[in-house]
């Protein structure tokens, strides 16, 4: 009979059904397993996957409370499996998966707003255990609610050592002669590797399961980067049928985690062997095989993907100009009509690369610009380190000045009415004024950001009758000073320094 690990679970938690099955031949390709999960309000049939040692698994995320029945079937076994389980209300920080809300913003399925505050640690989960623990500890003490990381290991400057595991059975290319000076010669090559792309190394994926779970339990979204070009193992140039097997495996395995987002690629346009046709095919697979409709995006290097494609739920943008990026959020919104997430706008740090050496002040400025223009920026950190442990790729500890200021911004965002902000197009040219992205709320609240400008005062006028409470926010010093209540025309004294915002709230 069927083994159910949790016969009672919360809504949006994961139900996993494990079944013994055939081990002859190649269990990853020779057999199939599916599960149908039924409840008066939903019935879904989902794919399962082989998890090694003769164990096949089907995972499911229930969206309703009450009794679910299920049936497991497929060629994996001659036996039929059936059972029931109970789903209770979500509790604590379980708000369900994040959805697009109100065109440009996010909310959890239970309606709680989600103000995206992401960070990037490309392969934190493939570092040694001690470093992983440190990363999780750092995340726990941070305000980040999303982390971008890769399923495949990363090969690049500062990323030369072997990962703790590989996704396939086989042997990686010999890296004993690899150095900081010759790593580009290995880049995007597959020679010297011996992989069986039809046999997954289940330990690699079991480990990622546990990472997704740990993130989920901290309230952090796992923005999974499925493919990327920073590769010496040939994972960026597999054949379409290998890609397809990979995607289906990932989808069967990870879809039932409520905190998963799908990032089809990091810098899709640098994968020389992939065409738009390939990306669209993979996107189609996700749409077909993820029954929970997790958020889907794709990230570029030079040429932005067409974010109007229907399968894309939100823009995942890398800056395309050294000087302007967050400042373009309101334009991107008009262009793409989706939430704008700037996943890469240069990292706080001091390495030699221009994408990784801006100041904490400049990074925080970009976050505020993005927020007040109705979008969301992403963090990363790249400080030189004696052991080359850079948060951006390895995790570990944070050394920068931006994280606590980003937590402060998140606090401010959580205090906005509605689900997010929009740029006030009729505001003065020399301020970035944001109002709630809602017709009903737009006169109740205003957040005006002055960035690198340093006014000593500003004059405001909203209307003649409404009373507003006005506060001056020092976004760098993280102070909020109440100035008073005003109506009609009013003047607000300001400190004449950079990075000041003014918050105006209807009383």
């Amino acid at each position: 009979m069927v083994q159910v690990r949790n016969s009672i679970l919360e809504k949006w938690d994961m139900q996993e059904i494990s079944c013994k099955g055939h081990t002859e031949g190649n269990p990853f390709t020779d057999y199939d397993i599916k599960g149908t999960f039924s409840h008066p309000q939903e019935s879904l049939t989902v794919d399962g996957f082989y998890d090694g040692n003769g164990i096949y698994k089907v995972r499911f995320m229930p969206s309703f409370t009450g009794t679910y029945t299920y049936r497991i079937f497929g060629s994996f076994s001659t036996q039929a499996y059936e059972g029931t389980f109970q789903v209770t209300e979500a509790t604590g920080e379980n708000h369900g998966p994040v959805r697009v809300c109100n065109t440009y913003h996010f909310a959890y399925e239970d309606g709680t707003p989600h103000y995206s505050l992401g960070t990037t640690c490309y392969v934190w989960e493939l570092q040694d255990e001690k470093l992983q623990e440190k990363t999780l500890e750092t995340l726990k003490n941070s305000a980040f609610n999303k982390i971008r990381f890769c399923i495949f290991p990363k090969h690049y400057d500062y990323n030369l050592h072997e990962p703790i595991s590989y996704p396939y059975e086989g042997m990686p290319v010999d890296s004993s002669l690899l150095t900081k000076d010759n790593f580009m010669e290995y880049m995007g090559k597959s020679e010297g590797n011996e992989w069986d792309f039809t046999r997954f190394h289940v330990g690699h994926f079991q480990h990622i399961d546990s990472c997704i779970e740990k993130l989920r339990d901290m309230g952090i979204e796992a923005d999974l980067i499925m493919m990327h070009p920073y590769d010496r193992w040939g994972f960026s140039q597999m054949k379409p049928e290998d890609d397809e097997l990979y995607w289906k495996y990932i989808l069967a395995r990870f879809s039932a985690y409520r905190n998963v987002w799908w990032s089809l690629a990091n810098e899709y346009d640098l994968l020389a062997k992939k065409s738009i046709k390939d990306w669209e095919r993979m996107a189609k697979t996700i749409c077909e095989k993820d029954p929970y409709h997790h958020l889907r995006s794709i990230h570029h290097c030079i040429t932005m993907y067409d974010h109007t494609r229907p399968w894309i739920t939100h823009c995942s943008i890398q800056r395309t100009d050294v000087y302007k990026c967050a400042e373009l959020v309101d334009q991107y919104r008009i262009q793409y009509r989706k939430p704008v997430v700037l996943d890469e706008i240069a990292y706080e740090g001091n390495i030699q690369h221009g994408w990784g050496n801006i100041s904490g002040k400049e990074l925080v400025r970009r976050f505020w610009e993005a927020a007040c223009r109705g979008g969301y920026a992403g963090h990363g950190e790249t400080y030189m380190h004696p052991q080359d442990i850079l948060w951006w790729s390895h995790g570990g500890e944070l050394h920068g000045e931006s994280p606590e200021r980003l937590a402060f911004l998140l606090k401010i965002l959580k205090e906005t009415p509605g689900y997010g902000l929009r740029y006030k197009t009729d505001a003065a040219w020399d301020e970035v004024a944001a109002v709630p992205d809602s017709l009903f709320l737009q006169n109740d609240y205003m957040l005006i950001y002055y960035g690198f400008n340093r006014p000593s005062f500003r004059d405001y006028y909203i209307d003649d009758v409404t009373e507003y409470e006005v506060e001056v926010i020092d976004t760098w010093e993280m102070t909020i000073e109440k100035i008073g209540t005003f109506k009609g025309k009013f003047r607000v004294p300001l400190p004449g320094k950079e990075y000041i915002a003014v918050r105006v709230r209807k009383i």
Copy 2:
């Protein structure tokens, strides 16, 4: 007989011939006066002007050494005037007028490079005498070699009081009820003024003569703003025939000063009563009436003028984007094929207006960007002041952090080979690398600027054989550190902070 103030003068100094003439009727319009100045290598006929008290003047700037003869004629008098004078070689800081040199740069007529380092004090010369003296003292102790200022007085925020003089005979509008709160109601209006636009107030222009002379003697170019929209007196909406009289008067009066530049307008597009046709007509007048071909430009607010117009010698640009301006210099060069002077890129200060409240650091960063992209930026300062004396309009003292750093930049520019720099288009995307704007010199020198990026080191490669001396420049701290000599591939350690440049010079 003729009165000659200096019968011996230096090349490019000014020769002025004063003659008594008719005083009946309106001497400004009823009579004409011209002078023909002859030398074996040039013969020019120029207009003179009426300077009040029965005195008519003809001014001339000789371009050659030796004996000049002249003849003064016209309806101003029944008498004929003739004479000779001697022209000697230029000495000291007299290098002649500034010319466009090598398409994108400037040089004085004697071939000395001119790296434009301008500042803006719109109506410094119309403030009280004590303040003017302070301005001149400040300029003397600064590195600025150009100053933009207006012939007409200025009406705007912080500019409400009466000027020390007006350009015409008559009465200005009553300003007794004018306040900081209602000044916009007066803007661009002419009601309440009583001017005779056919009778210049010569004292106003005699004073500007003396200012141009004082600037000349300090080696500072006088970038004369002929028209502007910040007006409550109707000077921005005179009739075409009044404009024509004004232009001819100005041209006859000021052309013979070697340090004059013509700026047709500040923010031409805000003069509601003027069309492109008007500006082109005025430009034609300048070309016809300035026999010395001083530099000519026109400055905009929203809509850039077509700087490809043949009469425009160099672009005079105001930033059109809050975030990018100096960063566009290399594009403007391609677009306009002329020297790019960013006369307005926001000022160092802390007033309420976004055009006047950036930090010294940000202003200096913009200057370096402009310089390394082959152009020239302009300074201004707008710090709050108890008596509303802001350098930007009134002159006085400088309070900011940028001027000494701009002097440091000028020193660096004076040490470049050739006449100026160009952006090295094949440099890395994350650095602004400049080389001499000369085929012969471009491999001899490189200046690489990192702006807000903070690399801890950078790798360079020019060729395998040439030896280069490498220095690290802290553009903010104004230090230059010799790193060593290198050839082939080499790595330069950098301090991992903002505003660093690297100078590479062939040994």
